[in-house]
């Protein structure tokens, strides 16, 4: 009982310390000012993003306008526009019931045939129809985990008007688009309750430094910030909101350093990285030390990787290595200051164990590195799909043919990740969340500004000082 009480007190303390959930009665009105670094060219889920930065920003903004049938929160799959779903045992035929009375931005009511048409655009290979008011999907191959697939933003339901206008069901509708700026208006008839703010103005193409400056100067309400800037923000009395860890930072050795004979060498370097200290100090406790690629909240097994990293070289053995094996060139993305800071920290740790790590951040051509520091977005989905995406993005880059079938059991996922990491060619370092700086005006009702999966919960945001 005492223990239970202490848990409750701890939770209460967190609640009191948190900025994002307020007890005051919310106020309607005002414009939420958001800045992003990328330029979002289109909110159409069917359109391809120009780069990963645009894809990430677009996914967030798109979630305000278009909604999927099924979504994900910290408890797993949750109904969104669908109210229920079921399939035959193989997942060859799915039947999805649609929420009734959902009004589109153009004032019409969402019907099952709208949904079927929308899904046919993004999944032309699926057989999609409407039977007895339900949407029936027969994928080309059985998909036992189709609901997980439907949570992806590209399966958000978009109704295309004859004029080419896009109508969605989300809490905001597209109001205006100008160069470098997008304006959204509150959807008054939103099925889950009208947003508190009247509008959202998204300034695009704003560099990170300018975003931070605008936040501090009171010209922006929500900006993306780096973990290394978090202290600066809180010291100025502003606030931080973050998701669960969504980015994996890992060192990936180049093929000439990936031989099995160098396994002990790589393990020694890996073991020398003080991930806990990096997370606590450099990354302001906003990151999680990583022994696995898939973050713990998505895998459910990650701590098992901390038990054994395999035998490493002794200090004397490292000292006895030829000079070229004691020097490691680590390449980082020149446009990512956070990755650079992490690489610098790895270099410091490596020096402690007798290695010299040279951090290379070339703007153009540069000598071949020994390893790269990569930053990969981990999809917030089932563990098999999360690892499958990482295999595709990291491991298969070098011609590896590792695969993981959708719907794989957890032990299969665990074994696949163990197999992926046991050669220490891919060395997880930390997991990073999406982090945002919030102005003093930003308050929320019931839910945090940013969900665990990084989605913007701006429908629940209200502004303390009214319209700007």
């Amino acid at each position: 009982m005492r223990r239970f009480i202490s848990v409750c007190l701890a939770l209460a303390s967190v609640g009191l310390a948190s900025h994002v959930v307020e007890g005051a009665r919310p106020r309607y009105g005002g414009t939420l000012r958001v800045e992003v670094e990328a330029t979002i060219r289109s909110l159409d889920p069917a359109a391809a993003a120009g780069d990963t930065a645009e894809a990430a920003a677009r996914a967030r903004a798109m979630g305000l306008v278009f909604e999927p049938l099924i979504t994900i929160d910290e408890h797993g799959l949750q109904p969104m526009l669908a109210t229920s779903w079921e399939s035959d045992p193989r997942g060859a035929r799915w039947q999805i019931r649609l929420r009734s009375g959902v009004q589109l931005h153009d004032g019409s009511t969402l019907e099952p045939w709208h949904v079927a048409s929308a899904l046919r655009v993004t999944e032309p290979a699926w057989m999609i129809g409407v039977e007895s008011g339900a949407i029936v999907i027969s994928p080309r191959e059985p998909l036992p985990d189709l609901p997980w697939l439907l949570t992806d933003v590209r399966h958000a339901i978009v109704v295309r008007g004859s004029s080419g206008a896009l109508a969605g069901t989300g809490p905001f509708r597209i109001d205006a688009r100008e160069p470098g700026r997008m304006s959204l208006r509150a959807h008054d008839a939103y099925w889950n309750g009208r947003p508190f703010v009247d509008a959202i103005r998204i300034e695009m193409g704003s560099p990170a430094a300018a975003q931070l400056s605008d936040l501090e100067g009171g010209r922006a309400d929500v900006v993306a910030v780096s973990a290394i800037d978090a202290r600066r923000i809180t010291q100025r009395g502003l606030h931080i909101a973050s998701s669960r860890p969504l980015d994996a930072i890992a060192v990936v050795f180049e093929p000439h350093r990936a031989a099995d004979t160098a396994l002990g060498w790589r393990r020694t370097l890996s073991a020398g990285v003080n991930r806990a200290s990096m997370s606590a100090v450099l990354l302001q406790r906003l990151a999680e030390p990583a022994d696995a690629l898939v973050p713990r909240w998505l895998s459910g097994y990650a701590p098992l990787f901390a038990f054994d990293r395999g035998p490493t070289l002794t200090r004397a053995a490292v000292a006895a290595l030829p000079l070229d094996q004691r020097e490691v060139t680590l390449r980082v993305d020149a446009s990512d200051p956070l990755a650079h800071a992490i690489a610098d920290r790895i270099a410091v740790d490596a020096r402690e164990i007798g290695f010299t790590v040279k951090v290379q951040a070339p703007a153009g051509l540069a000598p071949r590195p020994d390893a790269r520091l990569v930053r990969v977005r981990v999809p917030n989905t089932s563990p098999d799909r999360a690892l499958g995406a990482l295999i595709e993005r990291i491991a298969n880059r070098d011609g590896s043919t590792a695969t993981l079938p959708p719907g794989a059991t957890l032990d299969a996922v665990y074994q696949a990740e163990r197999q992926l990491l046991e050669r220490a060619v891919i060395v997880p370092i930390v997991h990073l969340p999406d982090i945002y700086g919030l102005s003093d005006r930003v308050a929320t009702w019931n839910r945090p500004v940013v969900s665990v999966s990084g989605a913007w919960n701006f429908a629940g945001v209200w502004l303390r000082s009214g319209a700007p």
């Binding site: 009982m1 223990r3 239970f4 848990v7 994900i72 910290e74 408890h75 797993g76 799959l77 949750q78 109904p79 669908a82 109210t83 229920s84 779903w85 079921e86 019931r97 609901p147 997980w148 713990r296 909240w297 998505l298 895998s299 459910g300 097994y301 990650a302 701590p303 098992l304 901390a306 038990f307 054994d308 917030n380 989905t381 089932s382 563990p383 059991t409 957890l410 032990d411 665990y414 074994q415 163990r418």
Partner: protein, 403 residues
């Protein structure tokens, strides 16, 4: 009567032992832990992981093989996973070693991801390495029904100086059973009438810990006392008794209470004080040692748990599943019992609400069905003896739900 109440319920001394793990009985008792976790943070997640704990232990034990020696290392901030798995493996004949020398290394974790609650073990090293997992899917079927927040609801029914054995509602009246009589009193909100009493006519001498139970069906009612059965009517009020024992309606087959005893016995001869029928034909009973014991559909002992004085089953349409209320002496008060509500998940009891401290010692806890509740609802009557004031008070116990 007072001395009984001071000594303890059913004349037993209160044992502070808090047994967590089950143990063998006559070679038939399965080694399944009956765990009552008090440190509940989220009952939903906990019930799922508790449910899968024994399956996980079974899979790990099967992978290791009987008689093997293992060095167990589990992740977890409070060591609970390691503790529980260690107990379960030990109960399955697996030996636990303090170090990894000459023992099979078992690394394990019990966590969750978006898809499932998961326990996973990585066993051994090198070529002999095996992975064992047990998972429970989270909501994967669509409509998300909010998990009800279930709580115990106590409604005072009647208080008096004379000992109360049981109460029930018969027509517009409340019937109160004492060792000597059945009294008919008006229910609150019903037209008043003068209380009526009918003596329990018997030649028997009651045991010191006399127990009695009432069952009403409309205006008709039955009285069950040790070696005595009475039948009566509320309107007109009448009562006729015979010194004949009959099975008591307590939800499990029994031959009634012997004239000079305070326990029941199953047809197989297993003695117990109280029984709570569960879904699936099982029972939780308080055995003669005062231990909460799980009986299977054949009334065989499946598992044993903590020391408990009372148990009763509760059910409500608003909260699917089997619920039980248990009672034992409050650790903070010499003369007060506490009620705890738990949900039965497999062979585990998952706490569902904070404990309730009663205003005295619980002297009786009977399952009851009180109008106007649904036929599917199962409720209970609790009788409390407040030793400070010397009065007995009957409460109606039921589940209440909030979403």
């Amino acid at each position: 009567m007072l001395s009984f109440a001071v000594v303890g319920c059913h004349g037993r001394e209160w044992t502070p032992a808090f047994a967590l793990a089950g143990f063998g009985l006559a070679g038939r008792l399965k080694s399944i832990a009956l765990v009552f976790l008090l440190a509940a943070a989220t009952a939903r997640a906990q019930s799922a992981t508790q449910d899968l704990a024994s399956e996980f232990a079974g899979r790990v034990a099967a992978a290791i093989g009987p008689g093997a020696t293992v060095h167990l290392v589990c992740t977890g901030e409070d060591g609970r996973t390691q503790l529980e798995l260690g107990r379960s493996l030990a109960a399955r004949g697996v030996r636990l070693a303090e170090s990894g020398d000459s023992a099979t290394m078992v690394r394990c974790s019990c966590l969750e991801n978006l898809r499932e609650y998961a326990c996973i073990a990585d066993i051994g090293d090198g070529a002999a390495r095996r992975v064992v997992a047990a998972t429970r899917a989270k909501n994967s079927g669509g409509p998300s029904v909010p998990n009800p927040i279930v709580a115990l609801q106590l409604r005072p029914l009647h208080a008096q100086r004379d000992p109360i054995l049981d109460v029930t509602i018969a027509g517009p009246a409340l019937l109160v059973l004492t060792p000597t009589a059945v009294t008919r009193i008006p229910l609150p909100g019903q037209p008043p009438f003068a209380p009526q009493s009918a003596a329990v006519a018997t030649g028997r001498v009651w045991p010191r810990d006399v127990r009695g139970h009432l069952r009403a069906d409309g205006d008709a009612f039955e009285v069950f006392l040790p070696g005595v059965t009475c039948r009566g009517s509320s309107r007109p009020f009448a009562l006729a008794c015979a010194d004949e024992g009959e099975p008591w309606p307590i939800g499990i087959e029994n031959a009634g209470m012997a004239a000079s005893r305070n326990t029941f016995a199953t047809p197989e001869g297993f003695s117990f004080y109280e029984a709570a029928p569960l879904d699936g034909g099982q029972w939780l009973v308080v055995d003669q040692e005062g231990t909460l014991t799980l009986l299977d559909a054949q009334r065989r002992v499946v598992a044993r748990g903590e020391a408990t004085d009372h148990v009763a089953a509760l059910r409500s349409a608003c909260a699917p599943g089997s619920y039980v209320v248990t009672a034992r002496r409050s650790p903070d008060a010499e003369s007060a019992d506490v009620l705890r509500l738990a949900r039965v998940v497999g062979t585990s009891l998952v706490p569902e609400a904070s404990t309730i401290v009663l205003p005295g010692v619980l002297t009786a806890l009977w399952s009851a069905r009180m109008p106007p509740r649904s036929q599917d609802d199962r409720e209970a009557i609790a009788v409390v003896h407040d030793m400070q004031t010397g009065r007995y008070e009957a409460f109606h116990l039921s589940l209440s739900c909030a979403r």
